[in-house]
């Protein structure tokens, strides 16, 4: 593993995707402000073109410009990450001169960055025509705003991505927390970006208050950990935990960190803000919350539970096993039952996202149930690899269909729909392809083969069942009670996915059965970027289902980078 000090040789190459985003950030700040302003040298008549300010041109005051810029920069970042991932992964650590590891670039972090950048690129493409722009013909005061609002929006979107990238790379709880907060604060503002609407303001407030409380609790847990071990590096904490992990202080600290990340993955009982936030935010932002932001939370959970408090540290199974198991059951059941009763499709998707968080927590629980005794480590390592692979696969394909569903809703939002199920009525007549895409997204969420949602659910179930059956010796004396209880998590998962079909199918019924609402006849508003994004989501949803092999291999190599480190 190569080690590089900040700003030393190779530093910028190693972190190229992140620096592309930084460049994008400055571009977004500068370009829309370019005008014909001139700077007069005092006491002379010489005017030097200064370019910042003044009358802006047609190009840089275009309301679509920031969105296109953000999309392009995210796409470049995505491609650079992909290049670094596929083109012979060069594992690199960024270390301080004193030798503390701050960031680590490996398959695991790069895979998550692909998820983040992919989701954000799609979301920014979908937002291009979405943020209300004042018309250029408007000569009044509001005309001055032109594309200023869009600029704010996309700057925040890019800082979100930067924060997430830092979370993915962090090898130190402090770095991780900084990244987390950078991403969180950007999303707080993004959620309430539609400040004119009552829902937007309410959503932003709720999300901010609950989120900052969760962050505060997490931060307190962090400081307790520091108090206990005197370091926040993952490796140091891991060593400390292996020695004296079973004390009250680190366990309390761990619980508090769990709260912080539980909010991010919207696990019950920290999920209360999620439905309001999703419903009040614009659909692309809600999609980012449900995919990239959730992936960030899972990433944090994996780092903390598997690396720091790795099950290996205890004999038999992990300390947090039962707590997390109970949490996962509550989360998936609550999410599904609440989704059954919601008539707002965005709230419905929010609750379905809670349910998916429950499935993922169940998978993480399964890792905790592994037996890490001597002579069993290899098998356990194998099983843990399977579960982490399933999680990464799930998070990746979630970007395809969950974000895709939000993007379809975002198209409806531009005609003030998308808040009621009825506004989807007759979509099959109005927009056959968009409706078919939405139906496929819903089926994928429900886990109908051969779509990617099915494969991801199957992988998670397989991971859990594999763990449950790891300890049994298969012979004719084997009875059912020999199977580890995490098997029941898989059972609850399939029952829950059966429940979930109700509400996913309802969307399809409304689109294909109901007639369009009054005043919603005819095709939806145009908007090439969002349509392209939806089609891209559709293709990947189907492709990663039918041709799941490649993505599983990628997810496996990423999981190996995390689990193999044990």
């Amino acid at each position: 593993m190569e080690q590089i000090e900040p700003f030393a040789e190779g530093f910028f190459i190693a972190l190229a995707p992140e620096f592309v985003l930084v460049i994008g950030l400055f571009t977004l700040m500068i370009v829309p402000n370019m005008g014909n302003a001139k700077f007069r040298i005092p006491l002379t008549q010489i005017r030097i073109p200064w370019l910042l300010g003044g009358q802006r041109g047609k190009f840089d005051s275009d309301p679509r410009l920031p969105g296109l810029f953000a999309t392009v920069f995210y796409t470049i970042a995505f491609l650079l990450t992909a290049v670094s991932f596929f083109g012979g992964m060069n594992k690199t650590q960024i270390v301080t001169p004193s030798g503390t590891v701050m960031l680590q670039i490996d398959e695991f972090s790069r895979m998550f960055q692909l998820i983040f950048f992919g989701a954000l690129a799609l979301a920014s493409a979908a937002s291009v025509n979405r943020i209300p722009a004042t018309s250029r013909a408007d000569r009044s005061l509001s005309g001055l705003y032109n594309n200023r609002r869009q600029v704010d929006f996309y700057i925040l979107l890019i800082t979100t991505g930067l924060g997430m990238a830092v979370v993915a790379l962090a090898q130190d709880l402090f770095m991780l927390f900084i990244g987390l907060e950078l991403a969180s604060f950007s999303t707080y503002v993004l959620v309430s970006f539609m400040k004119e609407t009552k829902e937007g303001t309410e959503a932003g407030m709720k999300y901010f208050i609950v989120g900052s409380v969760a962050s505060g609790v997490g931060l307190y847990g962090l400081s307790l950990l520091y108090l206990w071990s005197g370091s926040l590096g993952f490796t140091e904490l891991q060593t400390a935990f292996a020695e004296t992990g079973m004390e009250a202080l680190p366990l309390i600290a761990l619980g508090m960190l769990l709260v912080g990340f539980g909010f991010k993955v919207s696990a019950a009982p920290f999920h209360f803000a999620a439905p309001d936030a999703y419903a009040g935010a614009t659909a692309p932002v809600a999609g980012v919350l449900a995919t990239a932001s959730k992936a960030m939370g899972v990433l944090g959970l994996l780092r903390i539970l598997l690396i720091i408090a790795s099950p290996e540290a205890t004999d038999g199974s992990a300390v947090w096993l039962v707590a997390l198991g109970v949490l996962s059951v509550i989360t998936m059941t609550w999410g599904n039952l609440a989704a059954l009763g919601s008539t707002n499709p965005k709230r419905m998707l929010a609750y379905s996202s809670v349910a998916h968080a429950g499935y993922m927590l169940a998978a993480i629980t399964a890792i905790g149930a592994l037996n890490w005794e001597e002579g069993h480590v290899d098998m356990s390592n194998d099983a843990a690899l399977a579960v982490v692979t399933a999680l990464i696969f799930h998070l990746t394909v979630l970007v395809c269909f969950k974000l895709g569903a939000f993007l379809v809703l975002s198209m409806l939002e531009s005609e003030k729909g998308g808040h009621t199920l009825e506004s989807l009525g007759g979509l099959a007549k109005r927009e056959p392809i968009i409706a078919a895409a939405m139906f496929i997204f819903m089926m994928s969420l429900a886990g109908v083969p051969p779509l990617s949602g099915f494969v991801s659910k199957l992988l998670v179930i397989m991971g859990i069942v594999k763990v449950a059956l790891l300890d049994v010796t298969v012979n004719s004396d084997l009875v059912f009670s020999d199977i580890h209880w995490v098997w029941y998590l898989a059972l609850l998962m399939v029952i829950n996915s059966a429940i979930s079909v109700f509400y996913y199918l309802r969307v399809g019924l409304v689109m294909y059965f109901n007639d369009p609402e009054e005043g919603r006849e005819g095709p939806l508003a145009r908007g090439t970027p969002v349509r392209m994004a939806i089609v891209l989501c559709l293709i990947t949803t189907v492709f990663f289902g039918v041709g799941a092999g490649q993505l599983i291999a990628l997810a496996e190599s990423a999981a190996n980078a995390l689990v193999g480190a044990w």
């Binding site: 399977a386 004719s476 084997l478 079909v501 092999g549 599983i552």
Partner: protein, 545 residues
């Protein structure tokens, strides 16, 4: 020259063609969609006819073309036209297809019903979408029957839901929204439980069988798993008995709901009554048989001990389905609902056949699957025509049909007679065999022969409701000079040429398989005998059961 690859396009072609057509239609304007309807219809008909030709050629000619081809003396781990491609290597998932005497009749039946359905519903509205959906349904059904990989089996198993859901939702009756939702949720719930069972089986198998996944070390390959179940001796059976029982139940839930058996049957009448004619024909003709097919392919082959253990439970379920379905039929006033419940009753016959655990009973079940697959589409085609012409499904809405619509009346009479088990028609053979098998079973177990009274009584009930409904529709009442009131003054219709053609084809094949049942029965007999000889009896003997 080997023609093993043929079962791949048999699945792939209809699916790809239908999806392409649907995508093409979705991007067309409504007017253009209307215009291309007839050509889409013609294309689907030709494609399905081509598939029928292929499967029929498989039946007739392959002994000459390929010497090793023999449906009758099947072995378990040997399938005809077996092809295997790697799909997802890490998990041991392959695209494996192949046919044996269990699946081939079902595949042929599907390819046979596809063109018949298309012809029988020739004038269905919104043709450009309807016919591709029918084709997609056919492709998915064939996929279920030829799949020899658990993953692939499950994929196609669920894939059949999507076109059927849309067929009911878009072309169904008044209450179609409720019916389609119920249909989807019912069967989906059952199949996810089955899925968990399959995954558990997957991880309980010993590691490193053939075709195992690169990093799971397990295989989804059905022949391998069956062969393993066959080869191990009693004490090393790959699962303990208590575990077998639980997994058997989990898999059976999926199949019993699909079959359907009482008490899981309630989705069927709703789905049938609301479904369009074409949907009903495929649903009753082939889709229900997926349940019975799955039972033979998976739980009965994997867990013979558990099957033996639950023999009486299956028998009870079969008896209850048989009697309950028939009794409920007596109370129906809706023609299509009556036919739907009669399907439940006939599926009870299949279940009883399986529960007797003898080669004869299993052959009866297999032949019932096949015979019902030809007869029930005819019943639903009659119901569809009835609804289409008389705008009502109520028995008694139309009286004296024999005078006004002789063709429809004749078809109805023929279908009804076939369904109630008239000798020389296909249904009779299966029922007779089931009775014989049940008799054997009772004699072997030392039970009173009085148990036969139940099924025999059902025959009487079946005759009663069929005759009663015929009397009320075909013969009784109506002023011979006046058209019936329900027509509201419109002229008296009879079925069209396309429908006539479909009826004749179905009738001909009903007679054919009634007079010469051995065409299909021989291979089924061979298969069941081989199954008992090679797998079931050795396994049970070794297990000490």
């Amino acid at each position: 020259m080997t023609t093993d690859w043929i079962s791949v396009p048999l699945v792939g072609l209809p699916l790809i063609a239908s999806i392409t057509m649907l995508a093409f239609v979705a991007s067309a304007s409504p007017a253009a969609r209307h215009r291309i309807g007839p050509s889409v219809r013609m294309f689907t008909l030709l494609l399905s006819l081509g598939m029928l030709v292929v499967t029929t050629a498989m039946f007739f000619g392959f002994n000459q073309f390929a010497g090793e081809f023999d449906w009758v003396t099947m072995e378990f781990s040997k399938f005809n036209h077996e092809v295997r491609y790697v799909w997802i290597e890490s998990l041991g998932i392959h695209w494996t297809v192949g046919m044996d005497a269990l699946s081939f009749p079902m595949v042929w039946l599907t390819t046979f019903l596809l063109p018949v359905t298309i012809v029988a519903t020739w004038n269905e509205k919104n043709a450009a979408v309807y016919f591709p959906l029918i084709l997609m349904m056919g492709g998915a059904l064939i996929g279920v029957f030829v799949a020899l990989d658990l993953f692939m089996f499950y994929v196609f198993w669920e894939l059949t839901l999507i076109p059927m859901f849309f067929l009911i939702l878009k072309w169904g009756g008044h209450d179609r929204k409720y019916a389609s939702q119920k249909f989807f949720i019912y069967t989906f719930t059952a199949s996810v439980i089955m899925l968990l069972g399959l995954v558990t089986v997957y991880f309980l198998q010993p590691e490193n069988l053939s075709y195992a996944g690169a990093w799971t070390g397990r295989t989804f390959d059905i022949p391998t798993l069956t062969a393993h179940a066959q080869s191990v001796n009693g004490s090393d059976w790959f699962l303990g008995e208590s575990l077998q029982k639980i997994l058997f139940v989990m898999l059976m839930i999926g199949f019993l709901v699909k079959l359907p058996s009482v008490p899981f049957h309630t989705w069927l009448p709703d789905a049938h009554v609301q479904a369009p004619t074409g949907g009903s024909m495929l649903l009753a003709g082939v889709m229900l048989k997926m349940g019975a097919y799955g039972m033979f392919r998976l739980p009965l082959a994997f867990f013979p001990h558990a099957a033996h253990h639950f023999q009486l439970a299956l028998l009870a379920l079969g008896m209850i389905s048989l009697v309950w379905g028939a009794v409920v039929c007596l109370g129906q006033t809706n023609l299509k609902k009556m036919v739907a419940y009669s399907s439940v009753s006939h599926m009870g016959v299949i279940l009883i056949g399986i529960a007797t655990m003898q080669p004869l009973g299993w052959a009866a079940a297999l032949f019932m699957m096949f015979a019902h697959g030809i007869i029930s589409p005819m019943l639903f085609a009659v119901c569809g025509a009835f609804k289409h012409h008389y705008h009502s499904m109520e028995i008694g809405a139309m009286r004296g049909m024999a005078k006004h619509s002789p063709w429809l009346a004749t078809s109805m009479m023929f279908g009804w007679m076939a369904s109630l088990g008239l000798p020389l028609l296909a249904g009779f053979v299966a029922e007779l065999m089931m009775f014989l098998a049940l008799w054997h079973f009772l004699a072997a177990e030392g039970w009173s022969v009085l148990w036969m009274v139940g099924p025999a009584f059902v025959l009487a009930i079946t005759a009663a409701y069929y005759l009663w409904s015929m009397q009320r529709t075909i013969f009784e009442g109506g002023d011979e000079t006046q058209p019936p009131e329900s027509l509201k003054g419109q002229s008296v219709p009879d079925i069209g040429d396309a429908e006539k053609l479909a009826m004749i084809i179905l009738a001909v094949f009903t007679i054919l398989f009634g007079v010469m049942p051995w065409i299909a029965l021989d291979m089924m007999n061979g298969w069941t005998t081989a199954f008992f000889h090679d797998l079931l009896i050795p396994a049970l003997n070794r297990g000490g059961a």
